[in-house]
Symmetry: D2
């Protein structure tokens, strides 16, 4: 039985020794250990993949002892994940289809170890793609008047389907504080610029106007401040004076889908940790 | 005899045909032609490398006829450069040495077809490097009180040495409007961020604080607005949570020197044209 | 009416002037001109996008005069393409679906200006994807015994559907000389390595074995010699000791689909020319 | 006092716990731990940076106990390095100066934590650069006749100056088995291609001939088989049909110097381990 344990706590001497000793004593075999210390914030981060004999491990007892022996004395925030439990992701889209196609074809190919209980959109342009891939599609219009109602419908769907995290696959709407509070560091957005350059609307137009020689895309966790959440993944591609805004948009599509998929995979594999509005990525 | 002609003018039908016909009629062989139309601004750009028999070309007559036949009717801004005339570049530095070392070792290896009449600095930390490479070094302190005096000294040196363009190789001082007016689109700066992100002071600190996964460097022509001039060249490199600000600075040094050298080479080869605060780079 | 003219011929002085003069005389407006001289082979290449008033241009007469005035005296190989005529591409696949999904979703989004009359495969694993996108799918088994028969079936389909070029989207079969002769420089393959490294079978295994730090993908025109045809496009991504062969394959999938799509787009836009087993790419 | 411990041994359960427990018991604070298991070879690798109070650590006793308690029972190959002891690197050059300039200017700037007791060359073209940087320079001609004598002179110099590792900064000569045996996995070469493509002589010419769209450089440890040793670092840059062989060489120079410097830094920081002709790079 493979487990992944994520830990962060105030830094001090002896944590690695204590945790790895505990795992060893419980009969676990450590497959991979990644560790990081944020020296500015004095915080210790660890990700541990371990293998246990499922017959000899009592999970509840393990958690209790871990809490008593380690997490309390070291003031740890920690979580344990079994690789048999797939996280459940909802996809929010608007009218652009490239990120949706990319996510669904990866999922369909078995590349993405998550369940996709549904897709939601404020338009019904992409319903046929949901149908192509046999994923339930909900059309929830998002007019100014009915914003609150729409959000409540979204929240009800998320609860009903026990969604673990949300992917905004070029959703084009600002997500409200209510939703963010329900899913802290669990809403993944793709922004079509190399943040923090060109935050906000129409980043390709702004990049064209500024005459940059490289454009980018950024995937980040959504926070209350627009396009300012913890960055998970970024990538770039070169452009030149010969490229029009349409060319920027076309080249950008490839970046967006690749960067978003990488971020979603990192999240699904529990390789991301968030602290002080930044991420630790154990890739 | 190799000539490079740079042209920009309002776009209209027939320019390429007219110019290439003229060159052909004068006995020139076109080696390379690059052309671009900025469709937003309706401006035509062209760069032409041609080969002429030096015995049969009267340069003054060529220029006169080009003016009468082409540049006036088509309202061209144009310039002609002989590859036998090396542009003269002054280097401004402060205390960082990596860009200076890179430029001087390239120059010394014959990689950079320019003359370097002198290096100027507000400190004398790098004088020994100038000596290593046998380039005259002028130390002009740049205190707040003596700013105007210092600038006048700089201007006098530039005039005296018939300098064509200036390279700010991590100069760390803001260049005044007077100097910019004397050298419009002929002062090349290296900024240690992926502009427009992190303009201004301490960009690596700001990038670290924001938690970006990619850092960059940008070489641009200096204009009155800080770090907002036409971008010549940019490049990036990946960083992670494991990198400290010192690591950012170290990785950035490699970017800075490569990006600055590329920009200087493009300028020296007359492959850059500027319009509407953007560059056309015929690379 | 937009036309694209491709030319290659022995290099000599005056070609650009002659061709652009001809276009101008016929009332055409040159939108973009790209030109290259292979100095080793002394061959001149040009790609010209021009705009004509459809009412005043007699296409047959244009072609006749171009032949008499230019192509004969300059010994040109040339072709003229109208942007209203979409090239017809057949897709050959085997069992891997990522490149197929990528091509079809781009086509579906209007990103790929080509017609796809059919998909053919030696297996029927991907038939459901063809159905998802409403493209006819032919299953032609490719056993050793029935190889010749299978090829004849393929050729018949290609003829019947007036196919212009073929995309091998991870087809996994060696294409015979007969097919290559019918479609010279018109069969595009994606090889999952940075050619010429790791030609042939199982390149990711070979790359893993060699301990490289970067893997790549290469799209090329198919020639008789395996994986040795003219390269259209390449790209790479970094790997480390921490990646398994499965990780190489996963990262490679993203490269393969992006590189193949870029190559297909370049071909569709008639931006590729082939000479001496190399490509000139006017991107 | 900062120590770096490198370990590799047959993989088994409990190693991390045993080693970190030992460090903790000896009063050490683990600053960074990197670990890897080669699942094919069943080998465990670890790199540990720890901080000790210099007054309370008896280094000899520590080593003895480590050997008894850990290295013997776990059959470890291990080494311990103090960050106060700088490794001593000899630089071998021929006629190209760009890698030498890059290494020396980094060393001069304090970027490279190594000592450079001397530079050796089979030509004296670069003697003036050694003088610029005040590093002793030895000219040992390498004619076919005097090859053995030259090697013995090299070996004597290396011994005399207690050299830890050798950097071949575009040395252009094949290093003999004798030297390799004396410095196993401690001779760093830069090859001017993306290995394994274009091993051997004139790789830029071969790359040009093949028409690749990307060129690279590879730094590796030297083994008896030419250009086939464990790869430390690789990087690439794009090229096009418009680039001549001279352009390849020019672009390649920048790659070579950056890739070689990165590899040398990784070696100096003891972040490289070698196994089965591959490297584990804890970067």
């Amino acid at each position: 039985m493979k487990t992944t344990i994520l830990i962060h706590c105030p830094d001090q001497s002896g944590i690695i020794s204590a945790v790895t000793g505990f795992i060893h004593a419980k009969g676990g075999n450590i497959i991979y250990l990644d560790q990081h210390v944020d020296k500015e914030a004095d915080v210790f981060f660890m990700r541990l993949e371990s293998d246990f004999d499922p017959n000899s491990l009592d999970l509840d007892q393990f958690k209790n002892e871990f809490t008593t022996t380690l997490s309390k004395p070291y003031q740890m925030d920690w979580s344990l994940h079994l690789d048999t439990v797939l996280p459940r992701m909802a996809i929010f889209v608007s009218k652009y289809n490239h990120c949706l196609y990319d996510l669904l074809s990866r999922h369909h190919s078995g590349e993405l170890n998550a369940e996709i209980p549904f897709i939601v959109s404020n338009h019904n342009d992409l319903e046929h793609i949901a149908e192509q891939f046999n994923i339930p599609f909900y059309h929830i219009p998002f007019s100014k008047a009915a914003k609150l109602k729409a959000e409540n419908q979204q929240l009800a769907l998320l609860k009903e389907h026990k969604v673990d995290f949300i992917v905004l696959a070029r959703y084009m709407q600002i997500v409200s504080g209510t939703l963010i509070d329900e899913y802290p560091n669990r809403i993944i957005n793709i922004h079509h610029s190399f943040l923090p350059a060109f935050a906000g609307a129409k980043p390709y137009h702004a990049a064209f106007e500024r005459g940059v020689k490289i454009i980018g895309a950024t995937s980040h966790y959504v926070t209350e401040e627009l396009d300012a959440g913890p960055i998970i993944e970024q990538d770039v591609t070169t452009v030149s004076h010969a490229h029009s805004i349409q060319d920027f948009i076309g080249k950008g599509r490839d970046l967006e889908k690749i960067v978003l998929s990488r971020a979603v995979k990192l999240h699904v594999k529990r390789k991301t940790m968030v602290y002080n509005n930044k991420t630790v990525i154990f890739s």
